[in-house]
């Protein structure tokens, strides 16, 4: 039944496709892993010989594309393997994951890109793609083989959480990458203001006695990065914007005509600095959780379409790395399985953003940024789809997550939005319809 060769028809669905701006009644016919027919409204559906799935009015959308996923493979498999990450993605309605290159060793040459993508493909779960390091060993000193990695299928280039300190190195990376039209992503974090910090500077972090970074650490570095983008003409992604003041910098640069993309993590849309409460290490994130004003600004930016990509910032850390004093705990949170439900709950139900606008930075946004064929419900596109119930309540239980690490800040929280069915190239990789 899971063979890509069978024909499947999903009828009685509410199709939401940000790429074609369609939100309404419809049906989809899948054959040979691709979308063969898209019916808007109540037109005739080619169900001849098809396995028919009645969506019963539930939402059918393009599968989510998560461009910032960390695993522990290679080098730290107890945290997460490609397989556990892929299972987690499938359960969350995520059909493409882009693995970050900060593994051990770093993914900084074409053989490593090839390795990750082959291992991922062999799982036959979701699409496992790779981002390459921008510099060798992510050390910020010498340029990595951006051209060869690009050829091997790397989707973009980033040193992940390492900031390329040397502006001349970053300038060269950007101008070199531009000749391949390769996308560079950088975290905007001024290294000296943020060194050794574990929280955002404010009343709470001061009272708790935690070393904290001021919000301007993000703005200062973003100003530098954007100046280099302007000079080199690189394609650029601001990786995980989290403060209002950085958002202002971005908006100003775009007004001047600079074409840069920006991502935000789901955590910074859902939580603020107060959530760390009495040293709750599951809320120790990098960048740290910000003020409520910052969080609101991020939500408004999603509403206004200023955010191109929402990521899960999936970062598995086993319990022993979290059950430590706050400053000694590893930062990060798993998020693949809760991404869709958290986005729907927070952005749609709580903040009234239309579902199509919530789904855009989760599907079409990353697809167009990375040049993927998926991320849309269109004839000829890969049949990467998610069927979900936007109103169904769930209670997140970290113990049941597919990820090998259970460090979810959503543990115990009530969310609305349940993934019923995930299809990758027409194959059912997750089925929770019962």
């Amino acid at each position: 039944m899971n063979s890509a060769m069978t024909k499947t028809a999903i009828i009685n669905a509410r199709l939401i496709d940000p790429a074609t701006d369609y939100d309404g009644q419809g049906a989809v016919v899948i054959e040979n892993g691709k979308i063969k027919q898209v019916v808007h409204g109540h037109g005739a559906v080619d169900i001849d010989g098809a396995n028919v799935i009645d969506a019963m009015g539930r939402i059918l959308a393009p599968g989510l594309i998560d461009i910032r996923v960390k695993t522990g493979e290679p080098g730290n498999e107890p945290k997460e393997t490609l397989k556990s990450a892929a299972l987690s993605a499938a359960a969350g309605g995520v059909t493409t994951i882009v693995i970050q290159p900060d593994t051990d060793p770093a993914v900084d040459d074409p053989a490593m890109i090839d390795h990750i993508q082959r291992r991922g493909a062999a799982l036959e779960l979701v699409h496992v793609r790779a981002a390459g390091a921008a510099t060798q060993g992510r050390k910020g000193e010498r340029m990595a083989e951006i051209g060869l990695m690009d050829e091997a299928g790397a989707l973009y280039f980033t040193d992940v959480d390492n900031v390329i300190l040397n502006s001349r190195t970053l300038q060269r990376v950007m101008s070199y990458a531009a000749s391949f039209n390769a996308l560079i992503a950088c975290r905007p974090t001024e290294p000296w203001l943020s060194e050794g910090t574990v929280a955002t500077a404010g009343e709470l972090s001061t009272r708790l006695g935690l070393s904290a970074q001021p919000a301007i650490a993000e703005r200062i570095q973003l100003e530098r990065d954007l100046a280099l983008v302007e000079q080199t003409g690189a394609r650029f992604l601001v990786d995980q914007i989290s403060t209002d003041s950085a958002l202002e910098v971005l908006t100003r640069a775009r007004k001047r005509g600079l074409d840069v993309a920006a991502s935000v993590s789901i955590n910074h849309l859902c939580f603020n600095e107060i959530d760390i409460g009495d040293y709750r290490t599951f809320y120790r994130l990098d960048p740290p959780l910000r003020t409520e004003e910052d969080r609101q600004a991020m939500i408004e930016a999603v509403r206004d379409g200023l955010i191109d990509v929402i990521t899960s910032a999936h970062c598995p850390e086993p319990a022993e790395n979290k059950r430590r004093p706050f400053a000694e705990a590893e930062p990060g949170a798993v998020g693949l399985e809760t991404l869709l439900a958290a986005a729907i709950t927070n952005l749609h139900h709580e903040n009234g953003i239309e579902l199509i606008d919530v789904l855009r930075p989760l599907t079409h946004g990353p697809a167009s940024l990375l040049g993927l064929e998926s991320g849309t419900i269109a004839e000829g596109a890969p049949a990467d789809l998610v069927l979900f119930d936007a109103g169904a309540p769930i209670v997140v239980d970290a113990a049941t997550l597919k990820s090998k690490s259970k460090n979810s800040p959503f543990d115990g929280r009530r969310l609305q939005g349940k993934v019923l069915l995930t299809l990758v190239e027409g194959r059912i990789v997750h089925d929770q319809r019962q």
Binding site: R207, G209, Y279, E320, A327, E328
Partner: protein
């Protein structure tokens, strides 16, 4: 009735259960509970001045001192306090033991917990570490200092010292001077002094006073002479020298010139103002020996004496809470 029996009776009269299972932060207290602890501590002060200091409030109970950070004063103060209450005391300087070998804080806590102590006294270099540990053990936990977060028994002994000196803490103006940013003593004292009705002023260079402190209902003053005007108490903080050189202040001599407490600056305070310091002091950096050693203004030695009495009160009240049930 003998003198000793009389003191014992007073102690029994004043002994009330601690308001919480653990003493992690000043906020675990409330004004009546703090007053009760001070009353009890007062009795212990008298008791400690006798030659035979043994009492059996905690006979048969075990207190474990777990110090992940080196400390002589605080750990011996707790050790003496527990011994005078009749408890068995084990002091573990873990700064140099298994924790360095990769055993986690939680593992250590669980191991010690299995040995069934009644009270764990913990110091750790990370803010929140003692709080975390308290969630994993069945015994009462006393925070003997966690990172830059809190050092609540220090604040309680400072309160005891002040009440015995001034009679009442309410209405006093206290200047806390120096490195507030990195000081757990400052955080606990701000909370407890305000709880008891004192006015608090923070004095120091902008690099050592957190800017958000304005939201704590304190006055902030970057000029020492101005900051000491009209204060009843000058509470000096220890400068962590290794943190300083060229980073947060240019040099210790410049610091002493502008923020070190000497006679000249002290003259700006009220005529009968008193000087405190949690120790150990950097003489000639944050405080002039001339001031520190002048017993007519300095309460620094009293603080050490009050430390034992205040900690006896905390340990006895925590043990009493366990004995009578919550």
């Amino acid at each position: 009735m003998t003198q000793a029996a009389l003191v014992t009776e007073i102690i029994q009269e004043r002994l009330t259960p601690f308001p919480k299972d653990h003493f992690l932060a000043a906020a675990d207290l409330n004004p009546p509970a703090a007053m009760a602890l001070l009353d009890l501590a007062d009795a212990f002060v008298d008791f400690n001045r006798q030659s035979a200091k043994g009492v059996d409030v905690m006979r048969g109970q075990t207190v474990v001192n777990l110090f992940f950070e080196n400390s002589t004063r605080t750990s011996s103060s707790f050790e003496i306090a527990a011994k005078r209450l009749g408890a068995d005391v084990v002091t573990m300087p873990v700064a140099s033991s298994s924790v360095k070998k990769g055993e986690t804080l939680i593992d250590t806590a669980v191991t010690l917990n299995a040995m069934k102590p009644e009270i764990l006294v913990v110091r750790h270099s990370a803010s929140g570490a003692v709080d975390l540990l308290s969630q994993k053990v069945g015994c009462a936990v006393v925070n003997a200092g966690d990172g830059r977060h809190e050092h609540p028994t220090q604040a309680l002994l400072d309160l005891l010292t002040l009440r015995r000196t001034f009679g009442d803490v309410g209405g006093l103006t206290v200047a806390i001077c120096g490195d507030v940013t990195h000081s757990r003593v400052a955080r606990s004292n701000i909370a407890l002094l305000q709880m008891m009705g004192a006015r608090v002023r923070l004095v120091g260079p902008p690099t050592l006073i957190p800017s958000v402190a304005q939201r704590w209902n304190v006055e902030i003053c970057h000029d020492m002479k101005e900051g000491l005007q009209g204060v009843d108490v000058v509470m000096m903080l220890r400068l962590q020298l290794e943190r300083m050189a060229g980073a947060l202040i240019p040099s210790t001599r410049e610091y002493f010139r502008f923020w070190g407490l000497d006679r000249e600056k002290l003259a700006y305070a009220n005529p009968n103002a008193k000087v405190m310091h949690p120790g150990p002091m950097n003489r000639g950096v944050e405080i002039d020996s001339d001031v520190a050693d002048d017993l007519s203004v300095s309460l620094i030695q009293d603080q050490v004496e009050m430390g034992v009495a205040a900690r006896m009160a905390v340990l006895a009240a925590l043990a009493h809470r366990r004995a009578v049930g919550n």
